[in-house]
């Protein structure tokens, strides 16, 4: 059954892959199933069980998973994409309905639930999740009672660089900033994400990622304005391709994208010494969903250990499935990669987005000044 073969295909959490054909390094093959007591998703083939309208970050699902899911459940998947949590919120708040499944980051789960834009998860429909989830990913701070969300995967926001084009071996945010302002001016991009970019500067300055102290934010703003003339672009969707093509040599971005670049060219992803952001993206079901049942089936399906390994090997983001269940179905090079599964000491330095409404308003103003600089 070639369904059990898993390939490494460079992908990314939030980027479109424009014509870059998969590098396809086959790593794991045909390993026994259910050996570790994993409950795999039901494979009952139903004729036509309707449609799942999945609103997600671009390129955040292994393309193989869609047909496999349809085969297993009879449910066809319709797709739409958003570029940021904020854009997702704007869409739902603006009245868009009909999406069955979305993947907001933790802080956005909490905002969306406060805005009454989510409907409760029915855990009785999720036997594979209950059996396979790593307990660390239950009762997360943004959804203490697991009412509205189920973790999809997790990752970090740091930076990546081409090790063949950057001879230095930067380890900190300060080095990132100095190299950008110096030798590699014009060859660096940052995310088009307000909390991520401002937060990185705050952490570099020794402040909290989530601060809403105006004078600390002002110092971060000064750093950004000084950095601005040296940036090639502000983008969340193009930097992976630009790094692979060598048009830029360094980028502030997400770990999965860094590993996708490293799968094709000599590159490294850095979790800076000062710290940075740690995020969990979670499945959630928005109000107005036409087929919440299909959404539950999707979540349950991808929590099957094998199915989950297929996803992790594609996105390069950390899996919320118990590591013991992944051992054997997921390549050691992925399971043991500290950029995907950082050590507890590294994780301890990272912070999740918990920015207040006031902090958000202050950041918005800084972002306008940054773009105006």
């Amino acid at each position: 059954m070639n369904e059990h073969e898993i390939e490494d295909v460079p992908g990314g959490r939030r980027t479109d892959r424009k014509g870059f054909v998969a590098g396809a390094v086959a790593t794991v093959a045909a390993i026994g199933l259910g050996r570790f007591g994993a409950v795999d998703a039901l494979a009952a083939s139903e004729a036509d069980a309707g449609e799942l309208f999945y609103y997600n970050w671009a390129d955040y699902v292994n393309p193989k998973t869609y047909p496999a899911f349809t085969k297993a459940t009879g449910i066809k998947v319709k797709k739409d994409y958003y570029v940021s949590n904020e854009a997702l919120l704007a869409k739902l708040k603006g009245g868009a309905r009909g999406y069955d499944l979305i993947v907001p980051t933790g802080y956005m789960v909490s905002i969306l639930s406060q805005e009454k834009l989510l409907q409760p998860i029915q855990w009785s429909k999720l036997p594979a999740v209950k059996a396979n989830i790593n307990p660390k990913f239950r009762h997360l701070p943004f959804d203490r009672n697991d009412r509205f969300s189920v973790a999809k995967d997790w990752g970090t926001t740091g930076y990546m660089y081409r090790t063949d084009l950057v001879k230095e071996r930067p380890k900190t945010w300060r080095e990132f900033v100095n190299l950008t302002k110096g030798k590699y001016s014009g060859k660096v991009t940052v995310l088009d994400g307000i909390p991520e970019v401002i937060g990185s500067m705050l952490v570099m300055l020794g402040y909290s990622y989530n601060t809403d102290n105006a004078s600390q934010l002002d110092k971060a703003k000064q750093e950004l304005i000084a950095l601005k003339p040296h940036l090639r672009a502000i983008t969340s969707t193009e930097y992976k391709q630009m790094l692979i093509a060598g048009k830029i040599v360094m980028a502030l971005g997400w770990n999965g994208d860094g590993l996708a670049v490293a799968a094709k060219k000599p590159a490294a992803y850095v979790i800076p010494r000062e710290g940075g952001e740690f995020w969990v993206d979670s499945y959630a079901i928005p109000v107005g969903a036409k087929n919440p049942d299909a959404a539950h089936k999707w979540i349950n399906y991808v929590y099957g250990a094998r199915n989950n390994a297929v996803e992790t090997a594609y996105t390069y983001y950390g899996s919320p499935v118990r590591p013991a269940l992944l051992r054997g179905v997921l390549a050691k090079s992925i399971l043991g990669n500290p950029a995907i599964f950082p050590s507890a000491t590294v994780l301890a330095k990272l912070q999740a987005n918990q920015i207040t409404a006031r902090g958000t308003a202050l950041r918005n103003r800084i972002w306008t000044e940054f773009k105006n600089a």
């Binding site: 940021s84 904020e86 090639r232 918005n364 306008t368 773009k371």
Partner: protein
């Protein structure tokens, strides 16, 4: 005393006014009502992450009275003015030649319109390939324009040129060239005849083309976002940021209202010029 019946005087056919109702209804429902919403939001207040408290205060407008926003408005006006001037300079000679001398008008006009058959989004991404430093032309010149202001300006001229050429052509095509010949026969040199006869007759086309280019450019979003690497703020990108990333609909609405207000002023000024042109033409 004013003449009853308006400037066209008596005697014209009287059209039943209800013929205007469908268009009127459409504009009321899909233009005036949304505009009303935007106006109402612009006086409201952001509460929490996405909440809106409707009020009647000028706080958002006062907030915009700030060097940062002034810079962005000035930059946008610069882009719109450049785009208008550049498309006029590039488009006028072409439209003139097309209207007066060309024998393949239909084909050439079709070619002017052909780009519209493809979504602008796709054409903008195509420009990313052309502007890439590894593209043969730019590699030979050893210049790298990708994600620069120059790239934005190139994209603007490319995208808006047809909007300038078509009204210019429409105006020039109606010109009775024997008038120009008469002026020359009566002693005007070619330049003088152009200035005194051709240009005034073409003025309505110049005004229409300039409006078609200038007004949308004040809200241009795609070109700075795609060709400019999304790193320079214009009013269009700023409004998008307020609505989509910052969820500050009240502030975004206030910016939109300021843009709409300034455009109304420009529109009135332009139509005055056009009216004077028409009077001059008799």
């Amino acid at each position: 005393m004013s003449t009853p019946g308006g400037r066209r005087g008596h005697g014209g056919p009287r059209y039943p006014a209800w013929l205007a109702l469908p268009a009127l209804g459409w504009y009321a429902a899909f233009f005036l009502a949304p505009l009303g919403f935007v106006a109402a939001y612009s006086f409201a207040e952001l509460s929490g992450f996405v909440g809106v408290d409707f009020a009647w205060n000028l706080e958002n407008y006062r907030y915009l009275w700030d060097p940062v926003y002034r810079d962005i408005f000035v930059r946008t006006l610069g882009l719109a003015s450049f785009g208008t001037a550049a498309t006029l300079l590039a488009g006028f000679p072409f439209a003139y030649w097309l209207a007066r001398y060309s024998r393949r008008r239909t084909l050439l006009l079709l070619l002017v319109i052909v780009p519209f058959w493809t979504s602008f989004l796709i054409r903008a991404y195509a420009w990313l390939i052309i502007l890439d430093p590894s593209f043969p032309l730019f590699r030979a010149l050893d210049v790298d324009l990708l994600y620069t202001t120059t790239a934005i300006y190139i994209g603007v001229v490319y995208n808006y040129l047809p909007l300038m050429v078509l009204p210019l052509y429409a105006a020039l095509e109606r010109i009775d060239w024997s008038l120009v010949e008469a002026a020359q026969d009566l002693g005007d040199g070619p330049l003088r005849a152009f200035r005194r006869v051709t240009l005034p007759l073409a003025l309505p086309g110049v005004v229409a083309g300039s409006l078609l280019v200038f007004i949308p450019l004040t809200g241009e979003y795609l070109i700075p976002a795609i060709l400019g690497g999304n790193k320079t703020a214009y009013t269009g990108t700023l409004i998008a940021q307020e609505f989509s990333e910052a969820h500050d609909w009240p502030l975004g609405s206030a910016i939109a209202m300021v843009v709409i207000g300034s455009m109304t002023v420009v529109l009135v000024a332009f139509s005055r010029i056009a009216a004077r042109g028409e009077v001059a033409n008799g």
